[in-house]
């Protein structure tokens, strides 16, 4: 069996999910200029929501994605209105601290509700896999991969083809310019916060069927989406996708050849390299800058 090929396929499958998971974070960062440290916990919230729906309503985590999306959208708008809108008037550092506080709040609230045990969503097709040539492909991973790509592509279409989506990009590119064509930036901020959070919640559904989770896994996920955004660059969906695949390759290959404990180290080392040699990320180009 060809180990390299197997690792390559694993990286691709994981990369698709990483791209989708990070795209909401990058969107919020790029448009609102908020580095949301609670983003990882949002993903975990989505995972627990889909676990809850699976247990008590018998709803498959894939089928409950729309529920997570809608809940996340409302949650994102609420948090933006109640917390971030006020914090954004102060200095950026305050936003960072508040989002960290939010992360602590969410993970501890989940701990009270669900205890710290590792939970998993055991779907009936969870263990299935098939052989493609000499490569073993897990059905769940393939399903998550396909869904992630579809949802990311849907977001791409939304941002590039609809009036609201274009307005989101316009506000990210030039806030004053957007106001001068008649766009209301506060409204766009709300929609973007809702959309980004909806993506985090939805990716929680997928995360929940990929692996077990505890209330405190959000921190590591935040590190990952941060890494992906730095690696790929900000301001475009394509950047998050490039960063997502790159992180997946680094993780899969380094943990196989160097050991599981090394993967975060290698990823962070690559991030430092990118920051030194390509500070705008792999795909970040000068006209797709973050919000001014």
């Amino acid at each position: 069996m060809d180990t390299g090929l197997q690792l390559l396929i694993e990286s691709l499958l994981l990369g698709g999910f990483y791209s989708f998971m990070a795209v909401g974070f990058a969107l919020i960062w790029g448009v609102l200029n908020i580095l949301n440290l609670a983003y990882g916990s949002y993903i975990i919230l989505g995972a627990y929501l889909s676990l809850f729906l699976f247990r008590y309503a018998g709803l498959d985590p894939i089928l409950s994605i729309p529920v997570s999306f809608a809940t996340g959208f409302l949650f994102g708008i609420l948090v933006q209105k109640l917390i971030f809108n006020r914090a954004m008037k102060l200095e950026p550092f305050m936003v960072l601290i508040i989002s960290f506080g939010l992360d602590v709040l969410i993970s501890n609230a989940l701990n009270l509700l669900f205890k710290a045990d590792v939970r998993s969503i055991n779907v009936s097709y969870g263990g299935d896999s098939f052989l493609l040539g000499e490569v073993i492909i897990s059905k769940v991973k393939l399903l998550v991969f396909v869904l992630s790509l579809l949802l990311t592509f849907a977001l791409y279409l939304f941002l590039n083809r609809t009036w609201t989506g274009k307005a989101i990009r316009a506000v990210a590119l030039d806030r004053d310019g957007a106001m001068l064509v008649g766009i209301n930036p506060s409204q766009i901020f709300l929609i973007t916060a809702g959309l980004g959070t909806a993506i985090s919640f939805s990716s929680g559904n997928l995360y929940g069927i990929l692996q077990g989770f505890t209330p405190f896994d959000g921190g590591l996920l935040t590190v990952k989406v941060f890494l992906i955004s730095i690696l790929g660059g900000l301001g475009r969906i394509e950047s998050a996708v490039a960063g997502g695949f790159l992180l997946a390759f680094i993780e899969i290959f380094s943990s196989f050849y160097m050991g599981e404990g090394w993967k975060l180290f290698v990823a962070l080392a690559v991030m430092v390299g990118v920051l030194i040699f390509r500070p705008r990320g792999l795909l970040g180009s000068k006209y797709y800058g973050e919000a001014q």
Partner: protein
């Protein structure tokens, strides 16, 4: 009939007052120019009319409606458009996308307005797929004006039409502006440091100095006045 009427307009940034008690009006169909030295508050006044800077005192009327308490995006809907200093184009979007964003408040007539803008600026049509950030300075200025036209303005304000552009480019832009003014009946308020150009294409002009209106009148009279020629045009 007045399109714009500013009374006692005072504003600034932070604690610093930039303009004080500005009295200025634009009649329907008129081209009005504002000139004056750097830091005299010309750009700040346009920003105040567009709603990017809140007033400290005074009023702004647009037609019969008072607009100084409306946010910028509401003023665009009513027909106030600004091609701002620094242009504020969406550099990461294509030329056509920029124009389409300009039509944010007039989405039902995008097609006609796009044809109209391409009619006035054929170069933009050729470059429709290029990124705005990759255009030349003159083309960016065309795009900035075109984007403003997409909102079907009643008042088009242009901040520093000639800044950084070659004289030939400025001349052709000025000709196009007077055509737009004549054919579309759009009133214009221009901030311009090229005083001879400003006086040539405008009906009336205001002179700003240290945040106040120090002179105003018909452009064909101002251009003959010795004090103006000496101070602002470097002529004897």
């Amino acid at each position: 009939m007045r399109v714009l009427e500013a009374k006692e307009v005072t504003t600034g940034y932070g604690d610093v007052e930039i303009i004080k008690n500005i009295e200025l009006y634009v009649n329907d169909g008129e081209i009005v120019a504002i000139f004056g030295s750097n830091g005299s508050g010309k750009s700040t006044f346009l920003k105040a009319v567009a709603g990017l800077v809140p007033l400290w005192n005074g009023t702004l009327h647009f037609g019969s409606e008072r607009i100084d308490e409306l946010p910028a995006y509401e003023r665009v809907k009513r027909g106030v458009a600004l091609a701002p200093e620094g242009r504020h184009l969406f550099l990461g979007m294509s030329v056509e996308e920029n124009l389409l964003m300009g039509a944010w408040t007039k989405r039902d007539r995008v097609k006609q307005n796009l044809d109209k803008v391409y009619g006035y600026f054929p170069q933009l049509k050729e470059k429709r797929g290029s990124l705005a950030g990759d255009l030349s300075g003159g083309q960016q200025q065309m795009l900035s004006i075109g984007k403003a036209l997409m909102s079907e303005p009643k008042l088009l304000m242009i901040d520093e039409l000639s800044l950084g552009l070659a004289p030939a480019v400025v001349d052709s832009l000025a000709q196009i502006l007077t055509r737009i003014n004549r054919e579309e009946g759009i009133s214009m308020l221009l901030v311009e440091q090229e005083v001879s150009l400003a006086l040539e294409i405008s009906n009336r002009a205001y002179v700003f100095d240290l945040g106040r209106v120090v002179d105003s009148g018909r452009s064909d009279e101002l251009i003959k006045r010795d004090s103006i020629r000496k101070t602002y045009m470097g002529l004897a």
